[in-house]
Amino acid sequence: MRKLWRRLYFWLHRQRLERELAEEMQAHREMMPAERRTNFGNATWLREESSNTWLWTWLEQLIQDLSYATRVLWHAPGFTLGAIAVLALGVGVNLAELQIFNAMLFHRLHFRDGASVLQFSRVSRQRQSMGFPPAAVEFYRAHSRSFAWLIGEEYLDAVLEGDADVRAVLVSGDYFRNSGILPAEGRLLEPADTRPDAASVAVLGYQYWKAHWGADPKVVGRVMRLNNLPVQIVGIAPYDFDGMEGRRTDMWLPATLSPQLVSGSAPAQQDFSQPRDALLGKLKPGVSQAAGDADLTVLTRELARQRRAFDDDERVQSAFVEATMFYRFLPMVAIFLIMVLLVLLSACANLGNMLLARGLAREREIQIRAAIGASRLRVVRQLMTENALLALLGMAAGLAIWTHIRPAAAGLARLSAEHTCFA
């Protein structure tokens, strides 16, 4: 650090220092006996060599190269504009692509605190599982102290009036309240829907509503037969809500319907038999992830003591849904990245051709530079500086293009989010 300051000092005072050095060297020569004076060497060259130790030679050369590069590019406007256009298209198109992809894949958790939702799993020596028995979920919900909310999600492949393979999700009563979203039509599920005497109701997913019910707002209030159980449709979820795990969902039902929809299953409060619920939650402010895990682990020990549904050494672990989503979409991310690379590569290949053609035309200029003493490195550096300047300009133009097509890309992203469903 001190050395840097010293260097800066020398550089700032270089004119005075150069004068002093010249004076000093002159005095030295005069002190030398006359017959040896020729042995002093080339004074000008030595002075330059000396001052090179003070200043950042590379910095000066960079400035030199940059100004030269600017002149060169300025005098070849056709080439420069062409190269910038190629780069700008490559960069701008990729940015827009990225934006659409980003909206489609990574921003699927369109609800309040979507980024802080945790999904829990159970880990013991024997196994690792994401499934919790419904009764355990109820137990956690009643006794844990670390969470702003905890909810259970049970996936169910149901049959709706002869249409098999409907993906229904049975959720805790406060599911939609915690997600803070607004319905597209009608209303969403409420805690009152999980009371024992409540009517059987369902909320449809937007895509399902569109594909199977023709996006008809009048379906709200209709009764449908799901696994032979009459269920009333009370509302439609918004188009961008894919559940708290970001998975395709056709409809949401209150968890209390489980015994009626799945024959032979007990009411949730007593059902320890099958670990079929996903457990999701959000920590209270100021509670660490480890503390939350520990809280649930203690409760699990308690359950293990009371029942045999858990192993004795079972621990509860959490992971952010948003983070695990990335791995779920990894194959698609890979394909997308290859696409992006191909676009960039074709832009680069085009530009490479242009530069190559230009390089041939500039052979003479480079030969002259070499002839008057430029080292190979220096010539390469000059060309590199030129290319870097070109890349910078191309990037700036790409950003400009992107800001112009950005609204269109956002619209496209919304459209694709409405029409496509992954996973």
Binding site: R2, K3, R6, R7, F10, E20, L21, E23, E24, M25, A27, H28, R29, E30, M31, M32, R36, N39, F40, G41, N42, A43, L46, R47, E49, S50, S51, N52, T53, W54
Partner: protein, 108 residues
């Protein structure tokens, strides 16, 4: 006699070694070095100055204007503690290198 090309840092090391005896001006440094080594400054006595500038930038010595024995305005160079440390380190490295080479030569 064929000219022996000296390693790049040798001149700086010699300057530091000469300055260990006390502050000297450029011409005096050159004279002392010529006493120590006939070759290194023979061709280009002025090459002392780029080396001195480098020493100043590295902080191994400081320079102050003063008057020479003959009444000229000259710059005196004075070794700093950092310069002394550098000299010791370079001497040690040099000795290690020569010891290694000598060991090889004995075997040959």
């Amino acid at each position: 006699m064929p000219k022996i090309t000296m390693p790049k840092g040798a001149l700086a090391m010699l300057i530091l070694r000469v300055l260990r005896g006390g502050p000297l001006h450029g011409y005096a440094i050159a004279q002392r070095i010529r006493q120590l080594s006939d070759d290194i400054l023979e061709a280009e006595e002025g090459s002392l100055y780029p080396a001195l500038q480098r020493i100043l930038v590295e902080g191994w010595a400081t320079a102050a204007w003063g008057e020479s024995e003959t009444g000229r305005r000259v710059r005196f160079y004075k070794l700093t503690p950092a310069g002394l440390k550098q000299l010791k380190r370079e001497l040690k490295e040099y000795q290690q290198a020569t010891a290694a080479i000598q060991a090889i030569l004995r075997l040959a």
